[in-house]
Amino acid sequence: MRPIEHWLYPTPQGLYCEAGDFYIDPPRPVDRALITHGHSDHARSGHAHVLATPETIAIMKVRYGAACAGAFQSAHWGAQQKIGDVTVRFVPAGHILGSAQIVIERGDCRAVISGDYKRASDPTCRPFELVTCDVFVTEATFALPVFRHERGEDEARRLVQSIARNAERTHLLGVYGLGKCQRMIALLRQQGYHDPIWLHGALVGLTALFQDLGIELGDCRPASTATDAELKGALVMCPPSALLDRWSRRMGEDPVRVFASGWMRVRGRARQRGVELPLVVSDHADWPELLNTIVETGAEDVWVTHGREDALVHQLSLMGRRARALDLVGYEDDAE
């Protein structure tokens, strides 16, 4: 049996599995793509054949249109499937709705491509499922020892308390549109916040999709339909870019700007966006989660992709593991 580097390796088109003739999360259109999850740096439009979980396929269709790939094939959670010379299965990654780790086996060698993942609880998606393996491909978005996220429940409670304290001011919560938005809504509902939540236009479609797929998010409405009186003291959610732009001027003289992101751990990042209440909530693994997960998989080889590869590769070598950075193009270090 040839070593794994000969049948699974990075190319300019993305991570390629030669033994099955497919790419994983390719940044450019290819013939056959396996997609871990619906974030735009992983799921692109224009592939001839896409294999992904049903939720990911639904997300891609909402984002890019029903015809964004030549053909879609649903991967059933946990089901083995033969592709060329390898078998493949999709296992929950705990990152966002539909997010999967892709497990590839050939002979007695098992590789897990984890996409993006987290271990913290999330009411909007299936929890991360640990699969032991020989090669673990990990993200490194928050791979610095300074990143230790707070519990989502605690941060949601801080937001609810701030809303209660500032009855006159609108709270403007910046979130990434897919995953973080719906997770924050679900966390707020868990904390007993049942008022209508007003959504920027860019968040409406995906939130409706989550609700269609059976996730309880309560009363969510488009912010464009709200009267000024309704916005006073209310919670409005928007993409991060809208926090400071012209759109936000509708939210009164002095809204409380809130941003829920792992980057909020660093004060400079919060100040840069004019954020008054930074919530350290992330859908990515933080530093301890990354290290624990890698140890638990038992992987001898760890391949590190987008983010802070340098720090993670260094730490893993201190821990006596073989680690290398996969220089894949097309991923954003900074996005969530």
């Binding site: 610095l144 400079g268 720090a311």
Partner: protein, 528 residues
């Protein structure tokens, strides 16, 4: 510690002055003594602690973390104390953090050799926000966007007083300020301010905009040169002289000769601090050598002599003349100066003019060194605190520009650490012993672009990197940056022999070929 951490945390992200003031006032009203007094000290003059802060932090981290990871983290976060607070191993179990008063007591009563162990013990008992607040507390200026003045305003608000009431007694008080709190809470008499000369808030100008000109009547304005030094207030009373910066920081220790020049006067004056040799204003750089010093050497005094060019008078012999018009104050200033003749001072002359275009011609013709621009002051205006609209205008010269070529880029720190945001650029010069030309760096700029431009630049840099050294990348020399700056000065520290003052990126010339960028010769021609 918990309440202090909470308020410091909120202060660091609250934008509005009123928001900050409300947070601080609430905290100072509710926190017990001496905790609040130490907190106030940290936000104003600093705690009276002498701790080898940098060294202790690096020793503690060396025992607990890997040096490579610490460096990568520190580069990303951009602040050592914050990095330590984030990387510090979390406590096993949650315990009550120590009280602020306890913390300060421990450190005040400890030998220097015990500081590291005490700091580690305290960090072990704190959560991440408390660790950060603690390190900011003992590390000097916490930099949470609270000026000493704002903190004093918060104290004054407890009693519904004006900040000047607190400022007048401030210099007679010591941390943890029990007397002060007792007074503002009505439990005791006003502390005796003694005879210390206090800072009075200064009057500042707005830049004059194109739209302003039609609304300005030249007859209503006096004009004077704006000198290229630093604005100060000299307050002298009963032999005690203080030199205050624009923000009320006491910078007297760095300027002993100014203090002695005013030691027999009773006056509060506004002026520009300059280095002047044989009547000629030296470049700003010379003055910079004198700033931020706790003491000065005789050599420094001889080679970089300080001088005060006076603009205005606020008090004479205890009389507050701030409500007089500019014209009246100017007359008082001239009379006072003519009779008292304080050493190391002169008056900033008024520039006579009838029309603004005449004034502009005068300015263009002015050959004197150290002129940074013109001030237009409404003749009828009193001396008002802050930056009131419509009274004082500053009129600056348009900046000089050069087309330079981008050579190196470096990741920013803190909020910009994910992007390349520090740029070194150069101009062409002949390569020695050949007909070819080479680029020589002439400066570095950090600012002057929008977020979108920053992203475009970042993309350009990643795509055109030739070499990487740590956070620095060398790039293919093909992108022209139009650099604006205030002046070019000769410099022995730079390979090119010149240094720019305040360079910033004016425009990115995606369209311009690098060969057409400016030369070192053209750059040299702008010296002066």
């Amino acid at each position: 510690m918990r309440a202090f951490a909470e308020v410091l945390d909120c202060l660091s992200t609250t934008q509005s002055r009123t928001g900050k003031l409300a947070l601080l006032t609430d905290y100072l009203r509710s926190a017990p003594d001496p905790d609040r007094g130490w907190a106030l000290a940290a936000l104003t003059d600093g705690l009276p602690l002498r701790i080898g802060f940098r060294r202790i932090l690096s020793d503690l981290m060396a025992e607990r973390t890997d040096p490579v990871l610490f460096k990568l983290s520190r580069d990303f976060v951009g602040d050592t104390a914050e990095t330590v607070s984030l990387m510090w191993p979390a406590p096993e179990s949650i315990v009550e953090p120590p009280r602020l008063g306890e913390v300060v007591d421990w450190l005040l009563n400890a030998k220097p050799s015990e500081h590291a162990a005490i700091i580690a013990t305290i960090l072990d008992r704190c959560n991440v926000r408390e660790r950060w607040a603690f390190l900011k507390l003992i590390g000097g200026a916490p930099r949470v966007g609270v000026s000493a003045r704002l903190a004093k305003t918060a104290v004054a608000q407890i009693a519904g007083l004006d900040v000047s009431a607190v400022e007048e007694v401030w210099h007679a008080l010591k941390p943890p300020y029990a007397e002060l709190f007792s007074w503002v809470e009505g439990r005791s008499e006003r502390p005796d301010p003694g005879s210390v000369p206090v800072f009075r808030p200064m009057m500042l100008a707005h830049p004059v905009e194109d739209a302003d000109w039609p609304t300005l009547d030249p007859n209503e304005f006096a004009a004077e040169w704006k000198w290229d030094g630093i604005r100060v207030q000299v307050a002298a009373k009963a032999g005690d002289v203080r030199v205050y910066s624009r923000t009320g920081d006491d910078i007297s220790p760095a300027f002993p000769e100014i203090r002695s020049a005013f030691s027999h006067h009773d006056v509060v004056a506004d002026g520009e601090l300059l280095v002047v040799r044989q009547g000629t204003v030296a470049p700003f750089n010379d003055l910079q050598q004198r700033l931020n010093r706790k003491s000065v050497t005789g050599k420094m005094l001889r080679e970089h002599p300080a001088h005060l060019r006076l603009y205005d008078l606020l008090f004479t012999r205890g009389e507050d003349i701030r409500m007089l018009s500019f014209d009246d104050r100017r007359r008082r200033l001239e009379n006072w100066h003519a009779s008292e003749r304080p050493l190391l001072t002169d008056l900033s002359a008024l520039v006579e003019f009838d029309t603004f275009s005449e004034l502009e011609d005068l300015w263009r013709g002015a050959r004197e060194a150290g002129i940074e621009g013109l001030m237009l002051k409404r003749r009828a205006s009193p001396y008002l605190a802050g930056r009131p609209k419509g009274h004082w205008f500053k009129w600056k010269r348009a900046a000089l520009t050069l087309d330079c070529v981008l050579m190196y880029a470096q990741r920013g720190s803190g909020k910009r650490s994910s992007l390349y945001s520090d740029f070194t650029f150069g101009v062409w010069r002949p390569r020695e012993g050949s007909n070819e030309r080479e680029l020589v760096p002439v400066g570095k700029a950090y600012s002057g672009f929008t977020d979108a431009e920053l992203r475009d630049l970042d993309r350009f840099i990643r795509a055109n990197t030739t070499e990487t050294f740590g956070p620095v990348r060398a790039v293919v020399p093909k992108l022209v940056l139009e650099i604006a700056f205030d002046a070019v000065q000769p410099s022995s520290r730079h390979k090119s022999g010149v240094a720019m003052r305040f360079p910033r990126i004016h425009r990115i010339r995606w369209d311009k070929p690098a060969e057409e960028a400016d030369t070192l010769e053209a750059t040299m021609a702008l010296i002066g």
